[in-house]
């Protein structure tokens, strides 16, 4: 049994126009020390999955099917108080620091101390501060900057601080939601490498959410490609990138430049994802698919196993 299992998870948002199914029948599993990349364009449901794992869906959002099992325990059955105690201790999150993830009027170190003391109220403040010093050294931040405010940090430093905060309670799982999107490529590369090392050191499972398939392929052993709320292809990075089977994955790979290999024109994917409100028939990618079959419009495709750990949701395989 894997550390974290997501089974047939469906998540809906109640909107004025009806129930929006942001996530539909998504399953995956991650083991300790492994990382899974969730890739897809904006609105495909990847952040919603992250929020659901944290138990932090907005008031109009709820899990409408399936469950999340961490370490053998079903998280969807927990009440708010239990869930709150497990947040950050079991599953922490690395936010995109550029997006104001740190409180602007509180000292950065203090925000990490707060996380520690909330879950370990028995600790002395001094002890918590000492732990934060350790975390700063771990992520390569000067300890002397602990008492600065977020606006005094550079983008890269903020990102490191956010990572330090995620590591504060030694979580089993970390969800990294677009962690390096706002950073320049050099800092991005450093931070990704360091994150990878920390992951190995502490044997943490990471779920890496990004729209950038090239970054995900560098960091993750497994990839899940999301499209319009469904996971259309999932497997090891080697499987998915080596033999992409779903037309969307293929199109996604064609829309990014490859460093090695021959030069070729980038091909954008025409059209846009469908609205997710109301009943839907057939495959969701059908309208943008370069190779639609006649059956696609009628029946939603099932998840088909095409390799040892390789699954594709397409009738064409």
């Amino acid at each position: 049994m894997a550390l974290l299992e997501v089974n047939h998870l469906s998540i809906g948002y109640q909107t004025a126009k009806g129930l929006l199914r942001a996530v539909d029948d998504v399953s995956f599993a991650v083991d300790a020390g492994q990382s899974l990349g969730l890739v897809g364009e904006s609105g495909c449901g990847k952040t919603t999955i992250g929020m659901a794992l944290m138990g932090l869906l907005p008031p109009n959002g709820s899990i409408v099917g399936g469950n999340v099992v961490l370490d053998g325990q079903d998280l969807s059955g927990l009440d708010e108080a239990d869930l709150r105690q497990r947040r950050w201790r079991d599953i922490a999150m690395i936010f995109q620091a550029a997006m104001n993830a740190l409180n602007p009027v509180q000292r950065v170190g203090e925000q990490i101390v707060e996380a520690i003391l909330t879950h370990k109220p028995e600790l002395e403040r001094e002890e918590a501060l000492h732990q934060v010093e350790g975390l700063y050294q771990l992520v390569g931040l000067p300890v002397g900057r602990m008492h600065d405010f977020p606006h005094q940090y550079s983008g890269g430093m903020k990102q490191r601080a956010v990572i330090a905060m995620a590591l504060a309670l030694n979580p089993k799982v970390i969800i990294a939601d677009e962690p390096t999107t706002a950073l320049d490529v050099i800092v991005q590369d450093q931070i990704l490498k360091e994150t990878k090392e920390l992951q190995k050191e502490f044997n943490i499972a990471i779920i890496f959410i990004s729209h950038d398939i090239s970054i995900v392929s560098e960091v993750c052993e497994m990839i899940g490609v999301m499209y319009a709320g469904q996971m259309v292809e999932r497997g090891t990075t080697r499987e998915v990138l080596g033999q992409p089977r779903h037309p969307y994955t293929q199109a996604l790979l064609n829309s990014f430049p490859a460093l090695g290999g021959p030069r070729r024109p980038l091909r954008p994917i025409p059209g846009e994802p469908p609205l997710l409100i109301g009943r839907r028939f057939g495959c969701r990618f059908c309208d943008r698919c370069p190779v639609p079959a006649s059956s696609c419009k009628l029946e939603p495709p099932e998840l088909v196993q095409v390799g040892e750990t390789h699954f594709v949701r397409c009738d064409n395989v």
Partner: protein, 323 residues
Amino acid sequence: MTRYVINRLVQIVVILFMILTILFVLFRLAPGDPVARMVDPNMTPEDAARLIAQLGLDLPIWRQYLTYLGNCLTGNFGHSFHYGLPVLEIIGQRLPNTILLFSTGVLLSAVAGIAWGKLAAWNKGKATDLWLTVASLITHTLFLPWLALLLIWVFGYKLDWFPINGMISDEVWLDPDSGVLLKAWDVAYHMILPLGTLFIMHFGAYLLVMRSSMLETLKEDYIITARAKGLTEKAIRNHHAAPNAWLPVVTSVGLSLAFSINGGALTETVFSWPGIGRELVFAVSQNDYPLAQASFLLVASVVLISNLVVDVLYAYLDPRIRY
């Protein structure tokens, strides 16, 4: 920071100088002859002229201006026409009364407004929010003298719970046996109705500002971070949302403190509160120029200094602001 404060103080001096000049011009343009009320109809024209010469009003206008500036700089604001006392002495008596009433009023309504605004935003769309918001809108749009008279009529006259005017009871203050506590209680007792009026009028504004600011803050990413960290709702509200949300409220509290010095004329008049606002209106209606001039100058200085205090306070509340 010190540099900034010094710069601002210099600016304040310059602005005060401009205000002094405007006041000088204004009072010479104003209708009504200040000498008329001092000159006895039985005086001979020579006596009248001598009086005018004594007051310096026969001098050319620029000489008058220089004398006026010199007097202001040395703190000589002259004697009140009406009371015959030095202006500074009158202001010194009235100002503490005004400060006592209005700073208590503004602070009480700000504390309540911030607390209730926080509550309303936290329960957005629920009954608590609805009641608080509607109550604020209604109370804040009331006509102050009407509310004051209503309170006086109900609690002062019909129920006879509170005194209807004044600041002290003579029988308490003239009694040599009254201790300090008893005197303080007497003032507080007189303050309840005017304070109630100010509170009802003003808490709504703070509540609404705090509520909307808080709602904005609750959308911020660091609130999600706080929630993800597993903080309790109370900790999120009090340690993350509120400290960011009350910044705009501080501005409005600071400015109300400034303007209450003069803006309290209505309240002071209705409750016969012996404060500076009532004195200012009285001075203007009585053509008591020295008193009016000094009061205007006082109001201007208070507004300028409050602005400075708010700006400095802001730097302490919001670390992103540095001067």
